[in-house]
């Protein structure tokens, strides 16, 4: 309070300087006194006011504390409720678990089965005939909610239907894609979930877009004819049919397996060389066979007619040699006849040794091809390692195919060489012994008659 007065005094200092004289000082004195009393009065008021406020604060404090107490009590009661609820919840969960029991497992199984069924039905040939099943099964497989009884039932029905249809034969119309890309409508016969055929052609089912494609390479002839009999079979008739138990996978591989020409190409240069050797050998064999047959038939004719000498066959030539030299002694006649026989035998046996050599060379060339192929394989291993068997396949194919080709060339050549040699030996015996013997008999008879 004293400070307040001092401040007020200092604030009046300029006024003092302006009011010059004693008069002004007295006024100032009065004024200050008056001011001081007002000030004191105001201060009293404020004091009273502060006192009152302090009392009020105390009551506020009390009420706040009461509020806190109340809230704490509420908190405690809520916590208690919470704890109680927690136990109730646990109990209820327990109850729920106990009551739902196997159903949780059931839903898991349902989802799994629906997924499996989706892949089965999408890949199944039956879907070519009944494409609407795909939408149903995808909906079942994709639904994330707990399945309803209807959904469970429809999955069950789909599976039963698939099982039933996979055991029956049905005919329907469908679009078929040719290997060259054109399409046509055809009468399709579906054999369970295993094969689809139209006419004598086997079809492949592409599950991605539900189309039927004619296989570019069809299976063996008997399988195709069995498909044909199946297509044209009357209702109720029992026919044989060649089935692909892998549901089209084996038939699919068939398209990739190389044809005969592709196999021969795998043999490479060595393979072609072996084929040429085989062809040359077979041509020689053919020529020899024909010429031996001709010689033989001419000889037979000559043997039937020994009176007239024909010069177009070995026996005739032997006879001619005898008749030309019959005036000489027997020793000379024998020599002359031997000469003719040796000359003829050279012609008969000619070419046989070449056939034998070619028959021996062909497997050796096969071996050469094997080694060349192995070199190719090792080259591939050097470059790429053994990680990818497909890179090595080219060399291995060449190695195997050339062996096959070598054997295929050698076997008929050996066989025909043996036949030709036997025939040549026979002809040789006929010329050298039988002709001479017959002639001797005839000459003896002539000599006796003379």
């Amino acid at each position: 309070m004293f400070r307040a007065i001092c401040i007020a005094l200092l604030a009046m200092m300029p006024m003092l300087t302006h009011a010059q004289g004693t008069q002004s000082l007295k006024d100032l004195m009065d004024e200050v006194t008056a001011n001081a009393s007002t000030e004191a009065k105001r201060n009293k008021e404020r004091e009273a006011k502060f006192r009152a406020a302090a009392g009020e604060q105390e009551s506020l404090m009390a009420s706040a504390e009461a509020e806190v107490k109340k809230q704490e009590a509420l908190r405690d009661s809520l916590r208690k409720t919470f704890d109680e609820n927690e136990t109730v919840l646990a109990e209820l969960q327990d109850l729920l678990d106990r009551r739902s029991g196997d159903l949780g497992e059931l839903f898991g199984v349902f989802r799994q089965t629906a997924d499996d069924a989706e892949s089965i039905i999408f890949a199944s040939l039956v879907s070519a005939e009944k494409p609407e099943r795909k939408a149903i099964v995808s909906e079942l497989a994709e639904s994330a909610e707990i399945p309803s009884i209807d959904q469970i039932r429809s999955l069950w029905q789909l599976l039963i239907q698939e099982t039933a249809l996979s055991g029956e034969l049905s005919r329907f119309k469908h679009e078929v894609i040719n290997p060259d890309g054109t399409t046509y409508d055809a009468d399709i016969v579906r054999v369970g979930a295993f094969n689809v055929v139209t006419g004598d052609k086997y079809l492949n089912y592409l599950s991605e877009d539900g189309t039927l494609v004619e296989l570019a390479r069809q299976p063996a002839g008997y399988a195709r004819s069995s498909a044909d009999t199946l297509t044209s079979a009357a209702p109720g008739e029992v026919v044989d049919f060649t089935i692909d138990p892998s549901r089209g996978a084996l038939l699919g591989l068939l398209v990739q397996s190389p044809s005969l020409m592709e196999r021969i190409e795998q043999g490479g240069t060595v393979g072609y060389a072996i084929i040429i050797v085989g062809i040359i050998g077979m041509l020689i064999v053919l020529e020899r066979m024909l010429s031996l047959m001709r010689t033989r038939s001419k000889m037979q004719r000559q043997l039937k007619n020994l009176d007239q000498v024909e010069e177009d066959n070995p026996i005739g030539r032997v006879m001619q040699a005898y008749f030309e030299h019959r005036h000489l002694d027997l020793e000379t006649i024998s020599r002359k006849m031997q000469e003719v026989i040796i000359h003829d035998m050279a012609g008969i046996r000619g070419g046989l040794s070449i056939v034998k050599v070619l028959a021996a060379v062909a497997p050796l060339m096969g071996l050469l091809g094997t080694v060349v192929g192995m070199i190719g394989t090792f080259q591939a291993i050097t470059l790429f390692g053994t990680g990818d068997p497909k890179l090595m396949a080219g060399g291995i194919s060449q190695a195997l195919i050339t062996t096959v080709l070598g054997l295929c060339a050698a076997i008929p050549l050996l066989l025909s060489h043996s036949m030709l040699a036997a025939r040549a030996t026979q002809i040789g015996k006929m010329i050298s012994e039988q002709a001479a013997g017959l002639m001797a008999k005839k000459a003896e008879a002539d000599a006796k008659g003379a």
Partner: protein, 170 residues
Amino acid sequence: MGLLPMFQDFMDKGGNVLWAILFMAIWLWWMILERYWYFFAEHKLGKKACISTWEARDEYTSWYADRERAQLISEVDCSMLKNLKMIPTLIALLPMFGLLGTVTGMIQVFDVMAFMGSGNPRAMANGVSAATIPTMAGMVVALIAIPFATGLDRRYKRELRLLKTALKQH
């Protein structure tokens, strides 16, 4: 399983080459049986006719007689030799067919490996049986036939010797 389905199963496992081996085996055994039949029945008649022709001659020493003897022997020789040389050839060819089957079977195995990798021995089993069965079949047929072939060859040589001694040159 009946005998025929078992046989069909065996032939299916062996592949195409096994059919060729079957054909060769039938051919081979047909020839062996035919030769045995010849030596047991026909050969005796031919030999008898040959000997009686020779005995009918009035002299056995001239050049004419010598020629005729050679002719008579060669006629019998020719009919004895018929098919005889084919038997060893077929016996030699049968193992070659077996080898052919082995190689084609190996090709089959490598085809399967190219498609499925080497992790599936079940898929390869078909090729492996196509590789091994023809080899076995070829070997078995050839081995069984070898004693008969050598027996026939010995018989041929003995009969030739007997014939030569039967046609005496006094």
